[in-house]
């Protein structure tokens, strides 16, 4: 077994170790903590590169998949086994996660420099990155779930990093609980899958749960087993990746410091759901209905979240809803059969979304934690580096040629179009939603860029904004570079034959047939995006960017805008229904316990004892007491006589004795014979 496969565990272990050590640090040890965490992450990044190189080299001309499995514990006559796997998917994820995490860590040094809990922050960051890295290399659904939960924990800790704000305290709980709702499904799916396949490992030399032997077993079972397991596991993905209806936690998670938002919403946590579907893809393929569901959920989420993003004022919330929408795209891609397309979008999105979040972090930092885009404006001159990189990110997100987002989005639309063509009817929904979503995405990004960077400064803080330090700009530049060029890895092979051969596709799934690119779709989506940017540019300029001016869309359609601004009132709906119901149920159970059950059991048993004691009392007083009292008074009388008898004079005693003897004699004489 190659060295890198055997030591794959080191990649998550190093950040975990760094987290463990910094957890013991005091607040003052800021520099050692940052140094340790970034150092560990850098080592992990290097190891990830080694892993990637190994896959590239060994996988030449074919798929490589090497696993290192071990026994966690034995029970009965069998054992629960865990393992790590190195294959193109995990290598790709390792690269993305460690690269983006490393840049975000470096960015955080600048962003968090004034925070008193700087040390703790790096500890949590490291924990987060470690969990995520463990998640992507897990060769076992169980280990994946464990890392998955740890990711949830660290996001909980990071979202609530400023726990003194009540909104952050609420958001951290909401994030954990909402994702855990999905995890319930995931866990049940895990139990079921484990039970049916009898192994916790994905790949185990032909005996793994994702290998054809076991999948054949599940397929042969027929019925809804495969579909149910897939959908249950998909529940987990919906929770983590913020798919409707479990998307509500994601925008609230913006309460965390901005690097956290970048980490959670760009490269790692939210990608975990998409990754899960990618990892379990062989299972999802068993029943086509499972993938179809994924496609529809993704398509709906993509459109739904994009509409909300159009009417938000908070710079980070816009990006958050954009993330939800893009995750919908990825799911859509996976669901319509574009395994590579979905994961390619995950790959490119990680870079440009991290770039956008870090860019917004740079802006927020410069504007003294102002997040409302109505109070920004004119930042393009004051923060030129941020402006340029932000625009690169925005163009990539909008999907403009030749930025990274274009290629991945185009591939998704291509697969969606094939899906629609193959199935017909309702199957064209994903494609249409995707296209409308692309329009909206380009539109709201234009709106945001115009509000933030153009016009005049609309608040005092913005007027004095200054470009951020190089701790922050460096990562922006690196991510900007990736946002421009990462897309070329997936350059479709037939457009310009001499550039690319869709390297990404070959890397990830060499055996999978790629659809031939369609010029019409490229042209169409480019046209849609350009129109959207043009519209946005025209609407948001001049008077619309003056201080105090409302959104022109709001003036035009106030009702619609209000609904969008309030996120379709989903939160309120949940609060009125599920949350209310849970608490009402809790109170009802409490009442039932306290009064009804207590009455029956506690007072019942107490009552039984009491009745017994009443009976006992009755017996005591009538039978026992009477006898006892009688005995007592007899004894008392006897004692009085006794007192006369026992006067201490021996002659008296002798007298009584002799008198008794005489009496006895007389008696014997009279009664005897």
């Amino acid at each position: 077994m190659p060295w890198i496969v055997e030591n794959l565990w080191l990649i998550p272990f190093l950040p975990f170790l760094a987290a463990g050590i910094t957890a013991l640090f005091t607040r003052e040890k800021r520099i050692p903590a940052a140094f340790l965490v970034i150092g560990a992450m850098a080592f992990s990044f290097l190891l990830s590169l080694c892993a990637g190189a190994h896959v590239l080299r060994a996988g030449h001309g074919g798929m490589i998949r090497e696993a290192f499995n071990f026994t966690w514990f034995a029970y009965g006559d069998s054992a629960v086994r865990l393992g790590f796997v190195l294959d193109p998917l995990s290598a790709m994820m390792l690269f993305v996660v460690s690269f983006v995490s490393l840049l975000i860590f470096i960015f955080s040094v600048g962003y968090m420099d004034h925070d008193e809990n700087f040390t703790r922050f790096f500890c949590f960051l490291s924990l987060f990155a470690g969990s995520m890295l463990a998640l992507v290399i897990a060769n076992s659904l169980l280990l994946l779930f464990m890392a998955w939960e740890l990711v949830g924990l660290s996001s909980y800790l990071l979202i609530g990093f400023w726990f003194h704000k009540p909104s952050a305290a609420a958001a951290m709980k909401k994030a954990f609980i909402t994702t855990r709702i999905g995890d319930i499904g995931f866990f049940i799916g895990l139990l079921w899958f484990y039970t049916e396949t009898g192994t916790s490992l994905f790949y185990d030399g032909g005996q793994g749960s994702l290998e054809s032997a076991k999948l054949g077993l599940i397929a042969a079972m027929g019925g809804i087993t495969a579909l149910s397991i897939s959908l249950l596991i998909f529940c987990g993905a919906m929770g983590k990746s913020g798919q409707f209806p479990l998307h509500v936690w994601l925008p609230d998670a913006m309460e965390g410091p901005t690097p956290v938002s970048a980490l959670i919403h760009a490269a790692t946590m939210v990608a975990a759901g998409v990754f899960l579907v990618g990892r379990m893809y062989p299972l999802f393929e068993v029943d086509p209905a499972a993938l179809r569901t994924v496609a529809y959920v993704g398509a709906f989420t993509a459109l739904f979240a994009a509409t909300i993003a159009m009417a938000q004022w908070d710079i980070k919330r816009i990006l958050a809803y954009s993330t939800v929408s893009q995750l919908g795209y990825m799911m859509l891609g996976l669901g319509v059969g574009g395994y590579v397309a979905g994961l390619f979008h995950l790959f490119t999105h990680a870079f440009f979304k991290a770039l956008l979040f870090l860019g917004s972090g740079s802006i927020i930092h410069a504007c003294h934690h102002e997040q409302d885009i109505r109070k920004m404006g004119g930042l393009k001159d004051r923060m030129p580096v941020t402006f340029v990189t932000y625009c690169v990110g925005a163009l990539a997100l909008a999907g403009v040629l030749p930025f990274a987002g274009f290629f991945s989005k185009d591939e998704i639309l291509l697969d969606a179009q094939h899906f629609a063509a193959k199935l017909g009817g309702a199957a064209s929904v994903p494609f249409c939603f995707g296209l409308v979503g692309a329009f909206l995405t380009a539109f709201y990004m234009t709106r945001q860029v115009k509000y933030v960077f153009f016009g005049k400064a609309r608040s005092h803080a913005t007027e004095h904004a200054r470009e951020s330090s190089w701790w922050m700009l460096g990562p922006l530049a690196a991510l900007g570079f990736m946002s421009v060029f990462a897309g070329f890895l997936g350059f479709p092979n037939e457009v310009l034959g001499f550039i690319g051969l869709n390297k990404f596709h070959h890397f990830l799934a060499p055996d999978l047939h790629a659809h031939a690119p369609s010029g019409w779709i490229m042209l169409g989506s480019t046209a849609v995006v350009l129109i959207a940017i043009f519209c946005g540019w025209k609407i948001y300029q001049g008077a619309a960017l003056e201080a105090g001016a409302g959104d022109p869309m709001e003036a035009r359609w106030p009702e619609v805008f209000r609904w969008l601004n309030n996120k379709y009132y989903v939160d309120e709906f949940y609060a009125k229904t599920f949350v209310w119901f849970t608490h009402a149920l809790a109170r009802a159970i409490h009442f039932f316990d306290r009064y009804i059950l207590n009455l029956i059991f506690i007072w019942g048993s107490a009552g039984a004892v009491y009745v017994l004691s009443l009976i006992n009392q009755l017996i005591d007083e009538t039978a026992i007491n009477r006898g006892f009292d009688g005995g007592c008074s007899t004894l008392r009388r006897g004692a009085r006589w006794n007192r006369w008898v026992q006067n201490g004079l021996s002659q008296h005693y002798l007298r009584i004795t002799s008198a008794s003897i005489v009496l006895l004699f007389i008696l014997a004489l009279l009664l005897g014979r």
Partner: protein, 531 residues
């Protein structure tokens, strides 16, 4: 026999059992108010750990039968023996007692200085804890019903006095309720077991389990004997259902103790009113006696009977999990909340026990679930005792444990918050910490046996997260309140107590294999009798 031989061959289980008891007597030799009382108590509660570790060293995990046996005839005419031994089921529990009691004593150092806890002085307080420890050791090592029952009941008495003398404002009510309610259950069990004795002429767990394992013509030797005995009464209907009746009586005793919904209502009151040390012992160890009783008595003796009602019982276990969690969500008092969380967590153990009893299923799944029950007992013992300890610390510092009064403590007491946070996450089943291992094993073992009910019970882990995070949020997060400014963070001693707990939680969560290896053989023996 020379001295050397004596020290090699002494009956380690008995010595360990009565060591704390001797300590309790020794305490009374010290002058009242002596500062040495607590140190002496700590010494006597800690020393048995050495015995336990020595046993652990000599323990043969491959052997399913009880080891370190010692058997002396006690009342031969009633076939009562003094019969002790440690097998895979009890080894983990002995370790838990040996670890948790000294920690409780060390933790109690905080409270014996205060006027509230000083109501009756430190001497009886520690003596009662030590007596409780003896009772627990006895109950976890006895292999003869008669002498087991004595320890089972004897462990009630010190706890009664701990609550009655040192508890909260409503302590008298709580103590009596605790005693009477659990006693009613015990009496039911005693009656049931007397029938068993009359039928079999044996109190011996090992012998009775063997009888239950031996089957002939469709029913076990034990069931046959019970029916024959009931037949002498001449009521055919009674004879038909005699095994069920006896099972129900014995079951009731343990169901109250664990507790199983709906027999749990004594628990919140008792835990809330008990002093912190009492609550730690109650939740950490005494509640385990009930589950242990299921493993030691009900499953081996009445496994088949229980199997007939497995669906109903599993539904009750699911109700214990879900209703316990929901009721916890509605609480405003930290201690009551964690008390309900105990109900919730023990529900997982019961789910495993009941699932295993069902007639279907294969050996490995049952072994997994039973091992999981033991891991869960161990994990919950640590985490729940830890939570009560932390609540005690908060109450001592803040003078309140109402959720509505607390808030924003994390800023003032970060170490307390961090360690309590870890304990809490262990309790809600976070992977990497002990709680997850047990829950996963139970769920995974129970799923093939009863998928729907297990799936229902899995919802419990969501509700658990809900109330625990609500609690943490209320206590630690939110704006900093000036009234907590003078609050001090954990002292060194408090760090030691919580540090040991947290380290164990991590240890079991990451590497549960040693613990599972201990119980596996005994569990396999039990599981085989249930397939």
């Amino acid at each position: 026999m020379n001295l050397f031989d004596f020290f090699r061959n002494y009956d380690i289980v008995t010595v360990m059992t009565f060591f704390p008891c001797i300590g309790a007597l020794f305490l009374f030799l010290l002058p009242a108010g002596s500062p040495r009382i607590r140190l002496v108590a700590f010494f006597f509660s800690l020393w048995p750990l050495l015995f336990a570790l020595r046993m652990l060293g000599d323990f043969d995990p491959a052997c399913a039968a009880a080891q370190f046996r010692s058997r002396l005839p006690w009342i031969p005419s009633l076939s009562v023996d003094y019969f002790v031994g440690v097998d895979g089921l009890s080894m983990a529990m002995v370790l838990l007692v040996s670890i948790l009691t000294p920690l409780t004593v060390l933790g109690a150092f905080n409270w014996t200085g205060t006027s509230e806890a000083n109501r009756y002085g430190a001497k009886p307080f520690y003596a009662l804890i030590l007596l409780e420890q003896t009772g627990l050791y006895g109950a976890f090592t006895a292999l003869n019903f008669f002498h087991w029952f004595i320890f089972w009941e004897a462990s009630l008495v010190p706890m009664f006095f701990l609550i009655k003398l040192y508890g909260g404002p409503d302590r008298t009510h709580a103590a009596y309720q605790f005693f009477v309610y659990t006693f009613v259950g015990s009496v039911a069990m005693l009656i049931g077991m007397q029938f068993v004795y009359l039928a079999t002429n044996s109190w011996d767990f090992v012998e009775l389990a063997r009888m239950a394992r031996t089957t002939g013509s469709g029913e076990s030797e034990l069931a046959m004997k019970i029916r024959t005995m009931a037949g002498t009464l001449g009521i055919p209907w009674l004879m038909e259902h005699s095994v069920t009746f006896i099972f129900a009586l014995v079951f009731l005793g343990f169901a109250v103790k664990v507790p199983l919904w709906p027999f749990h209502t004594w628990l919140p009151v008792t835990y809330t009113q008990a002093p912190t040390a009492g609550a730690m012992l109650l939740t950490g160890l005494m509640s385990k006696m009930g589950v242990y009783g299921f493993l030691r008595i009900v499953l081996p003796l009445f496994g088949a009977t229980m199997g007939q009602y497995a669906t109903l019982l599993m539904l009750l276990a699911a109700a214990t999990i879900l209703f316990g969690a929901l009721a916890a969500l509605a609480q405003r008092d930290l201690k009551t909340l964690v008390a309900y969380s105990s109900v919730n967590h023990l529900g997982y153990c019961l789910l495993g026990v009941f699932a295993v009893a069902s007639a279907t299923g294969n050996l490995d799944d049952k072994a997994l679930a039973l091992n999981g029950v033991i891991v869960q007992m161990f994990a919950h013992g640590l985490s729940a005792a830890g939570l009560f300890y932390f609540i005690g610390l908060i109450e001592q510092r803040a003078q309140t444990r109402q959720l509505d009064d607390l808030g924003g403590l994390r800023k003032t007491v970060p170490v307390l918050c961090g360690l309590m946070g870890i304990t809490m996450f262990a309790s809600l089943g976070l992977p990497g910490l002990a709680g997850f291992v047990g829950e996963f094993m139970i769920f995974r073992g129970a799923f093939p046996l009863a998928a729907e009910i297990t799936a229902l019970a899995v919802v419990g882990i969501l509700l658990t997260a809900l109330y625990l995070l609500t609690m943490t949020g209320r206590v630690f997060f939110g704006p900093q309140d000036d009234k907590w400014n003078g609050m001090s963070d954990l002292t060194l001693r408090e760090r030691v107590v919580s540090g040991v707990l947290v380290a164990l939680l991590f240890g079991i969560g990451l590497a549960p294999a040693p613990l599972i290896d201990l119980s596996n053989s005994a569990v396999m023996l039990l599981a085989k009798s249930l397939v």
